[in-house]
């Protein structure tokens, strides 16, 4: 709790926020990632599709949903490469690429990775990709895109 006469500020007490994330109703999505599968949900009552998945339909208010696997070839809709890392992603070590790709009626977010291990390359809007799942260095499961061109 140092006080600096030079800067005219002092430090607050440390305040740690760590949250519980309730995933019981979308557990299949997280389990799917561990099995190399990516799931969205579809409303059995009105047919609306959701990615990321949700347990309730925002359109017809039904909670009768079914799981749909998202697979095949996707198309990059937009992307960025981050050079400034947020707290919690220091582990990345080098600029990482986030993209959104469409797979039919579903769109998903993922990290775009190069074919060659350790190499960073950029996708292009319209590039065809396949989606894989994997864990990052902190153990969080996510989607990775690779070019199929």
């Amino acid at each position: 709790m140092s006080r600096s006469e030079e800067t005219g500020v002092m430090e607050s007490r440390t305040f740690v926020l760590r949250h519980k994330l309730p995933i019981a109703r979308v557990e299949k999505y997280w389990k799917g990632l561990e099995e190399g599968k990516i799931y969205g949900t579809q409303c059995k009552a009105c047919g609306a599709k959701f990615s990321p998945p949700q347990a309730d339909c925002s359109y017809c208010y039904s909670s009768d949903m079914e799981w749909v696997e998202i697979s095949g070839e996707g198309v990059i809709e937009c992307f960025t490469q981050l050079y400034s890392f947020p707290q919690g992603f220091e582990f990345a070590g080098k600029p990482y690429v986030i993209a959104v790709a469409s797979f039919g009626d579903f769109r998903i977010m993922g990290w775009f990775v190069s074919e060659k291990e350790g190499e960073v390359s950029l996708p292009q809007v319209g590039m065809k990709v396949k989606a894989e799942t994997g864990q990052d260095e902190t153990g969080v499961w996510k989607v990775y895109f690779r070019s199929v061109e």
Binding site: T7, L21, P52, L82, P86, V100, R107, M109, V125
Partner: protein, 393 residues
């Protein structure tokens, strides 16, 4: 009072602090600076205020429930407060809360205060807060999104579809820095060259350092009153709220239908235009404050608000149409890009700048007025919230 929907609402006073790194003041002190200026500008005292609305995006400040501390410090205990949050569009939502209270006949004199102190935490923490502006579980948690990253994705889509260039984006930064150099309240009071902007390092490809607004501290305040109260007070220096529109979009980026524009901008502007009777913004509006948190955002806003056709935003800046002497001067005060972007303050600060313009008090930055109408366009998140005001005298 009690005029209901017939009540016109006017802005009778505005205040805005210097934007920048404001380690010299607490949130209470910085809000007080803006409120004092607004009350003096309106010629009213704190006792005249019936309702205070306090807007902040929040989380970055050590004060997590700041409305009451600010209300106490400004001497408004008992007059509200209502705390409002709409990410970077918080200020516009705060003004709307004051506006609707007056339209409803519940209050006849209200103050909207917007503030943010983003520099109380370090940059990685600030990025981790901004990166949570979408849907945490599906975006930040898995992919480490940042706020520049979100807009960078839109920029990539816009560039791919319409051929918008690095250089056109940099031109927005050059214009807004040139204007901010003349604004005593601005965070960056220096001009930059096109070469410097296009040569700066990437923050989030394709956005470079000079495509991004800074991390800012600041506050702004606006005093609103009913037409009846304005007459009673004998105030004739009034800027009227002639139109207001709002909209929003999905939290999750994968749930958006398109990435080369903001649906919330289109819908909010159409709602405000309808209310204010605007069918040709270029002809009817004299000066506009557009949400340029990133240079691509100003380019998309030209299109989404109908200043040019979709895809021609790059050409609009290139041809000088948004500069002084162009078809519609935009961000004459330096924009968020160079005046600064203290999130909760921004929407109120845009109102401050347009009120100054419409009262012809903008000094070296005064735009030419024909219809005495101005516009503010304020986006929260990556098009998560959209707000547009049409002001007139």
């Amino acid at each position: 009072m009690g005029m209901g929907s017939e009540t016109r609402v006017g802005i009778i006073g505005v205040g805005c602090t210097k934007f920048g790194v404001r380690d010299d003041a607490t949130i209470q002190e910085i809000a007080f600076e803006a409120v004092r200026e607004a009350l003096q500008d309106a010629g009213v005292t704190r006792e005249d205020i019936q309702l205070s609305v306090v807007g902040t995006a929040g989380t970055r400040s050590y004060e997590l429930m700041p409305a009451v501390p600010i209300n106490e410090y400004c001497g408004f205990a008992g007059k509200g407060p209502i705390r409002v949050e709409a990410a970077c569009a918080t200020g516009s939502a705060a003004v709307y809360t004051a506006y609707t209270s007056i339209r409803a006949g519940i209050a006849d004199l209200a103050v909207a205060i917007g503030f943010e102190k983003m520099n109380e935490v370090d940059t990685p923490t600030s990025l981790a807060v901004g990166g949570r502006s979408g849907s945490y579980l599906w975006e930040f948690h898995q992919y480490g999104t940042t706020f520049p990253g979100y807009y960078a994705m839109l920029a990539a889509a816009h560039m791919a579809r319409y051929g918008t260039t690095d250089k056109q984006m940099a031109m927005v930064a050059v214009k807004n820095h040139r204007n901010a150099a003349k604004n005593p309240k601005a965070q960056f009071r220096k001009e930059i060259t096109l070469e410097k902007a296009v040569g700066s390092r990437y923050v989030a490809y394709p956005l470079r350092l000079f495509d991004c607004s800074p991390i800012s501290d600041g506050a702004a305040a606006a005093v609103l009153a009913s037409e009846e109260k304005i007459k009673e007070l004998g105030i004739d220096n009034v800027v009227w709220i002639e139109g207001v529109g709002y909209s929003s979009d999905t939290a999750n980026m994968p749930k958006r239908a398109d990435y080369a524009g903001l649906k919330a901008s289109v819908e909010a502007s159409q709602m405000a235009y309808r209310m204010a009777g605007i069918d040709d913004p270029l002809k009817q509006i004299d000066v506009a404050a557009l949400h340029d948190c990133f240079t691509i955002a100003e380019i998309m806003a030209y299109e989404d608000l109908g200043f040019c056709r979709k895809g021609e935003g790059g050409k609009f800046i290139e041809e000088g149409e948004s500069d002084f002497g162009g078809k519609l001067p935009v961000n004459t005060f330096g924009g968020l890009k160079a005046k600064g972007h203290p999130l909760g303050a921004t929407g109120v600060a845009m109102i401050y700048e347009i009120v100054k313009q419409l009262r012809e008090e903008a000094g070296d930055l005064q735009a030419e007025l024909k219809n005495y109408k101005g516009l503010t366009h304020n986006i929260g998140g990556t098009g998560h919230f959209g707000w547009v005001y049409i002001l007139g005298v």
